[in-house]
């Protein structure tokens, strides 16, 4: 890299140097290299999911651009005349016909379609896993709250990108998906019918929807995603990456590898790895076989009609909601108004909106909810190990279980046929599980986290069990424990363990309602806690359990007996 240490005009000598200097002196590249060339990034496998999301997005842009060259978003009627014989002569939309042409008549088109769709599924999955990693490690805490919110927006955008893309082939499967969207929209009070007519350009299905979704899918949504990714990464640079606690790592430093060469090589190589994995999957595994589904037509439908996994939970909620309770109560209300009767379909509105509202509200607000409970206003650059925040981890797992139950509900028919159980029974069980499951998951997870903390405590205090049983001269059997070294022990003991905050009465001796609620929340979070081992405890345990702690000296003494 060209650089000048003197104030005199720098004259490059080599040809590369000349070109570099020419560019550098016009764009200020030296400054950028100075800033980023040796920037430090901490290394941990869980930190890679954001990169997976970024790389799959790049792959989506590449493959998607290819697809746009051949895809025609028109809903005009045509008769298929391509290579796929079981559909030849069938009446269909131009959009579907061009999707078939991409699959059967454009060389590499099928590969690009499959790569695009598999990348989309992995994109949404990696966004979700990245978000879970940030949640479970507490990386959303100050100063990263806003970046968490940007991430939440990106989650919603990736759902939107996925859904709009899913609908574009205009096949039977996606068409029935749109039909469901239309039905849900119409259930919205007052404006629902109008929204549906505006979206579809008239009555369902109309001739506009595919073109509109196409513009959203290839222009608006990717543009906003790019913008959000820009903000997201800018804030990552601003905050510097967080890191797990451990020897040498503090809240005021970053320990890891410099961008050049190690981190750049690993991150750059990883792009090719993700691309390669997806290419291998697209080579050997069919995704969205649109030729099986046939063109969209409002009359047919296929058994096993489901959306992609990231929308599946809403479909599952729609399946679980009963339309009626008993013989006399149904969830569709006819409300008499002076101008006539209007219909309110809670059997559609509740499952379509309530679970999403709960999940997204909690998601967006979580950094502030937790900060309110802990009253913790400090900056956190050291992450929590999930076990060291048992309540938060429990909430996260409860959310995962909630999602999984709803996704399972969206596959209730497949569960029924593949496990030879009654479809109706599956629905009954899942109706119960959607409420009980998250609660159980919270309790079990918190217990497991606390148990793991206790195990850590044991190891920090007494060392690892070696499985070697030794008989002492006086006849007692003991298991030899191998003490952990300072570095390993520090990993086990360096964490915060907040305690319950008891609400304090004010000068009038009263406790405000908010304080009471806060006290409850604090108890809910931190009632059960395991404190980190202190040096004093370690020393005491050495003295109390002499023999059980087989330090190096102890072992020698045992061996010499």
């Amino acid at each position: 890299m060209s650089s000048s240490t003197t104030t005199q005009t720098y004259v490059p000598k080599t040809r590369v140097g000349k070109v570099t200097d020419y560019v550098d002196s016009r764009v200020g590249g030296s400054g950028i290299v100075k800033e980023f060339g040796r920037k430090i990034f901490p290394d941990h496998w869980t930190f890679m999911f954001g990169e997976v999301a970024l790389y799959t997005f790049v792959i989506l842009l590449i493959t998607g651009t290819f697809l746009t060259f051949f895809y025609d978003p028109s809903m005009a009627e045509t008769h298929y005349n391509g290579s796929y014989l079981p559909l030849r002569g069938v009446e269909m939309s131009v959009a579907y016909a061009s999707s078939l042409d991409i699959s059967f008549d454009v060389r590499g088109g099928l590969f690009m379609r499959q790569l695009h769709h598999w990348a989309a599924l992995l994109f949404a999955a990696s966004v979700a896993v990245h978000m879970l990693r940030v949640f479970f490690t507490g990386a959303f805490r100050r100063p990263r709250e806003f970046n968490w919110v940007v991430g939440c927006v990106l989650v919603i955008l990736s759902l939107a990108a996925g859904f709009t893309g899913y609908s574009l082939p205009d096949d039977l499967l996606s068409g029935n998906g749109l039909r469901i969207i239309d039905g849900v929209m119409k259930a919205i009070p007052v404006v629902g019918t109008y929204l549906s007519f505006f979206l579809f350009g008239g009555e369902f299905p109309g001739t506009m929807i595919i073109g509109r979704l196409y513009v959203l899918h290839i222009l608006l949504i990717p543009a906003v995603i790019l913008l959000m990714i820009g903000i997201h990464l800018f804030m990552v640079v601003l905050h510097k990456h967080s890191q797990f606690p451990g020897p040498g790592r503090t809240n005021t430093n970053v320990v890891g590898y410099p961008v050049g060469p190690v981190y750049a090589a690993k991150a750059g190589g990883f792009f090719f790895i993700v691309f390669g994995i997806l290419a291998a999957i697209a080579a050997a595994f069919t995704i969205n076989p649109i030729w099986n589904y046939g063109p969209y037509d409002p009359s047919p439908v296929s058994a096993g009609t489901q959306p992609d996994w990231y929308i599946g939970w809403v479909d599952g909620a729609l399946r679980l909601m009963p339309g009626t309770l008993g013989d006399n109560f149904d969830f569709e209300f006819m409300i008499p108004f002076p101008w006539g009767v209007n219909a309110l379909s809670l059997n559609v509105l509740v499952p379509a909106l309530v679970p999403a509202a709960i999940v997204f509200t909690l998601m967006f607000a979580w950094p502030w909810i937790e900060a309110w409970v802990t009253k913790d206003k400090r900056e956190h650059h050291l992450l929590d190990r999930p076990r060291n925040a048992p309540a938060r981890t429990g909430v996260g797992v409860a959310g995962i279980v909630f999602y999984c139950v709803l996704w399972a509900a969206a596959s209730s028919d497949l569960i029924a046929t593949h496990f030879l159980v009654s479809l109706n029974d599956v629905t009954y069980w899942l109706r119960a599980l959607v409420f009980i499951g998250p609660v159980l998951a919270f309790m079990v997870t918190r217990r497991i986290a606390l148990a793991l903390q206790r195990k850590d405590r044991e190891i920090a205090l007494h060392g690892r069990e070696t499985g070697r049983i030794v008989r002492l001269p006086h006849g007692e059997f003991i298991e030899v424990h191998e003490p952990v070294d300072d570095y390993k022990r520090y990993k086990l003991v360096s964490f915060d363990s907040p305690e319950v905050m008891v609400p304090k009465p004010d000068e009038n001796g009263k406790i405000s309602l908010l304080d009471k609620v806060h006290g409850r929340a604090s108890r809910f979070f931190f009632e059960d806690r395991v404190a980190p081992v202190t040096p004093k405890e370690l020393e005491a345990s050495h003295n109390d359990h002499h023999g059980e702690i087989a330090g190096a000296k102890d072992r020698e003494s045992i061996a010499s007996h």
């Binding site: 510097k240 390669g276 209007n342």
Partner: protein, 342 residues
Amino acid sequence: MIMADSSNGAPGTSVTVATPGRELDEFENPGLPPHRPRLADRDPRAEKRAERQVALLFLISVLGTLLFFAGYFFVPLNETIERLRLQNLMLGLGTAFAMLGIGVGIVHWAKTLMPDHEVTESRHEIRPEKDRRDAEKIVNDILDESGIKRRPLIRNTLLGAALLAPLPAIAIFRDLGPLPGNSLKHTMWDTGVRLTRDPSGTPIRASDVTIGSAFHVIPEGLNEVENKLEEKAKAVVLLMRLDPEELNPSPGRENWGYDGIVAYSKICTHVGCPVALYEQQTHHLLCPCHQSTFDLEQECEVIFGPAARPLPQLPIEVDDEGYLVASSDFQEPVGPSFWERG
């Protein structure tokens, strides 16, 4: 022993930071563990081997690219699925090897041959107090110079204009679609419209419909109308014949069927999927999307699932030539509920 965190180089202490080691009784941070040399750091032969491995991986990538070209140019498509499958496999695996060769090669290079000493860098305050003060002053100067505080007339009129100006941007979307009107309350069915087979459009005689059979039905002439799919989305009907004994028509609906033949809207009253699954022994209709189940013996009452309303019945009769025809349109709107449905 207390860990001296502030010595780690964070300038300024205006931000409280969560630091393990705040209290006295905590473990000291032992610092980075000693660096452990890798095989390639100690053994020149291992180093050489790693170098060869990386080069080999890059060569695999080259082979992958060649495989791609082989698939692209030497596997011509000939309308058979096997050919396409082979081509897809070769293109995909070629790309996979090309990418994985490069990726794994670079990472292997970084892991084995590039330095693996962990480096420490200090964090800086996100917003130093001095910056805040400077920025505050700048903002105040800007506000002063603009005079926006001193000239409320300008400020308020600007506010009003700015609030109003985006409204056309919303209004201009009005023509996204027509108003619903009462289009959702009518279908193509009308008195005397023949029931025909989907998709061929051939009419159906009453004698064609034997007990236990199910016909997927569209109104006659549907295939010729301009907005075929929109009409079809409302008009599709499922036609079935049961033993007349098993039907329990409510008063006023006794003659909506013909000798055990009944016709019901196929559009689910939940969110609109085609309720096309007919179980001829139980006489249940099942929606494959959300499993709403309707009982034909009780005029398609909902007996399971998320739908709340029975499927609308199409009143039918037989014309002079023995063909099934509709007696009228549906007596209520078909498909999912909407606010104006009433």
